[in-house]
């Protein structure tokens, strides 16, 4: 789980959330009705969850991002729409206000937000500005009596429920900046605000998604959140919280899928044998298990980072957990056979709900290129697990074999065998694998620097590949640190197994891709290359 069950702060809160969710949340009903029942939202409020990360002075609990991630992951095991609604409120919705708001803004808004009487939303995306926030068209200009706001936002999560919106707008000239962006606080009742109808979506149907229209709104100057035209920096900090919380939701969804797999496989028989005894099945489940473990390790670790480190590491957590959740739910459906395609299992809903996480809060392809570029700009290396000198690949193989031969129950819940301590050889082997992976990533980076010089920043294909390699390294390092801390044999084996997959992936990423001209030729008729940049 995420974080560990023995976490003193998070453990009791998460247990409460689990009991509430098991009793009150009906995911299929929420999906069918495309709405979260009022009783569920009021139940979350009674548990104090809307104020979880808000300051105690204003009715919140003052808990950390890590604790909030634990709660969101737990809720996502039961229903992703509920998790997204609360996660958006705690992250994108209120982080800016908490971190950059004035005393007066805190006094006006935080008590209602903490009690759950008022929900928060965040609006940055526009029809012409998705992952590129430097091209915002919604703007605010100083007209003396206040700020005149015009424009439109789309895909606003919690848009139909919120009483307070934090919006990102272009503010040319404000604060002396020629082309700055600012964050503004908009109240639901502000004249000139129109909330568009609910969108009909593939998944997350219980989560509200609307557009917002700002029609010549006049806002008092006091509604600027943080520094006028300092929005780009503030936006980065807010988004890093949002991404991390969303990543936690992915962990919860993946864990739920894995639980369904274990439950199904432990009872189902094929070819006269339990499915859980088939080698091909066991290999697949072991890899899915290892991936969920690494997702939880990475997201938990990232959620405890400093604000500065969170800016970059949340990108890796977001990409790894959203891609992982998609692969795990897809794998879970495959392992269920035809049954997985039936809504009753809950897997179809998990799949539909998880799909958008690879897109929103920064499309993964965009984030990967950004990560690759950030890696090249890094002056100090990222944190690494202390590495052993041992390099025996035989031990790596034996660790993987130990997992493959574990009892079916061990895959579903920690048994005595799984909780047994890992041998020093297995630990050393896992560490050696992680080190070898890190060296592969370093080699890729150095080769790109030597080949392209500064021009590497104009090589999006390679930046994307380097970013993807970095994601693997980050995930394996975090998983290794968590496994080493627990010393559990199953977790160390999972790290070893996943490291093999990671090293194969990074080898592919490091290979020379087919020339651009080949792609152009393939697309000559259907999608000719546009002129210009």
């Amino acid at each position: 789980m995420l974080p560990r069950a023995d976490d003193e702060v998070s453990g009791p809160i998460i247990s409460q959330v689990r009991r509430f969710a098991a009793r009150a949340i009906d995911a299929r009903a929420i999906d069918r009705d495309a709405a979260i029942p009022r009783e569920v939202l009021s139940g979350l409020a009674e548990l104090g969850l809307f104020g979880l990360t808000l300051p105690e002075a204003f009715g919140g609990s003052g808990c950390s991002l890590a604790t909030a991630c634990g709660v969101i992951a737990e809720l996502a095991r039961f229903d992703r729409s509920v998790a997204v609604t609360l996660g958006l409120h705690l992250g994108l919705g209120t982080r800016g206000l908490t971190a950059f708001g004035t005393r007066a803004q805190h006094e006006r808004y935080l008590p209602g937000l903490a009690s759950g009487a008022c929900l928060a939303a965040f609006a940055a995306t526009e029809s012409g500005a998705g992952s590129d926030l430097s091209t915002l068209q919604t703007n605010a200009s100083d007209v003396g009596a206040g700020l005149r706001v015009n424009g439109e936002k789309i895909y606003v999560t919690n848009g139909g429920l919120a009483g307070l919106y934090t919006i990102a707008v272009a503010t040319p000239g404000l604060g002396g900046s020629a082309r700055g962006q600012s964050l503004l606080l908009i109240e639901r009742g502000d004249p000139g605000l129109q909330v568009a109808p609910e969108e009909h979506k593939l998944g997350l149907r219980g989560s509200s998604t609307t557009g917002l229209v700002f029609d010549s709104m006049l806002l008092p100057h006091e509604r600027v959140l943080g520094e006028a035209s300092g929005g780009a920096r503030e936006l980065g900090i807010i988004l890093s919280w949002g991404r991390t919380l969303m990543s936690a939701g992915c962990c919860g969804a993946a864990r739920a899928a894995l639980e369904k797999v274990a439950s199904h496989l432990s009872t189902r028989r094929q070819f006269g044998r339990p499915l859980a005894a088939l080698e091909v099945v066991r290999e697949q489940v072991a890899l899915l298990t290892a991936r969920v473990f690494a997702m939880e390790a990475l997201v938990d670790e990232v959620s405890r980072e400093s604000e500065k480190a969170l800016l970059v590491r949340s990108l890796a957590a977001k990409v790894f957990s959203s891609e992982g959740a998609w692969a795990i739910v897809d794998g879970a459906i495959q392992l269920h056979g035809g049954l997985g395609f039936i809504e009753d299992t809950g897997l179809a809903l998990l799949l539909r709900d998880v799909r958008v996480t690879r897109i929103f809060e920064g499309a993964n392809d965009v984030l990967l290129a950004h990560l690759g570029a950030s890696e090249l700009l890094q002056t100090s290396p990222p944190p690494r697990a202390a590495l052993s000198e041992a390099t025996a690949s035989a031990a790596l193989a034996s660790a993987a074999a130990a997992l493959a031969s574990a009892s079916p129950e061990a895959l579903a819940s920690p048994s005595a065998a799984a909780l047994a301590s890992a041998s020093p050889e297995a630990l050393a082997s896992a560490a050696a694998g992680a080190e070898a992976l890190a060296q592969q990533v370093d080699a890729l980076q150095k080769s790109l620097q030597a080949r392209f010089r500064i021009g590497v920043f104009r090589q999006p294909r390679w930046l994307h590949r380097l970013g993807a390699a970095c994601v693997w390294r980050e995930a394996i390092d975090a998983a290794l640190r968590r496994a080493r801390a627990s010393g559990r044999a199953d977790e160390v084996a999972q790290v070893s197994l996943l490291t093999q997959a990671a090293r194969a992936a990074v080898s592919t990423l490091s290979a020379e891709p087919p020339p651009r001209e080949l792609y152009d030729l393939c697309l000559r008729e259907s999608l000719p290359r546009p002129e210009g940049r």
Partner: protein
């Protein structure tokens, strides 16, 4: 419009910046900050230097980079590398 190869370094730098941010070259001034005034993040400023190296045929390594914060500093950096290239 793209400046010809005989244009001044300043004009060529301003043109490149205008390719990265939606601002006309005539509106860009030396004292403007890449991040706060032109909305360019750290990766964007590296892309700017990358385009500069390509446009002016400069050999700049990633390890040579010192972060530039203003338009004027970018122009100065370009001139430094041009002088180095000239020997």
């Amino acid at each position: 419009m793209r400046p010809d190869p005989t244009a001044t370094v300043d004009d060529r730098v301003l043109y490149i910046i205008s390719q990265l941010v939606p601002v006309q070259p005539s509106q860009i001034r030396a004292e403007q900050r890449l991040r706060e005034d032109l909305g360019m993040d750290s990766v964007g400023s590296m892309e700017l230097l990358s385009m500069l190296a390509e446009e002016l045929d400069l050999d700049i390594g990633v390890e040579d980079i010192t972060e530039v914060h203003t338009v004027g500093a970018t122009i100065a950096l370009a001139k430094t590398f041009l002088a180095r290239k000239a020997g």
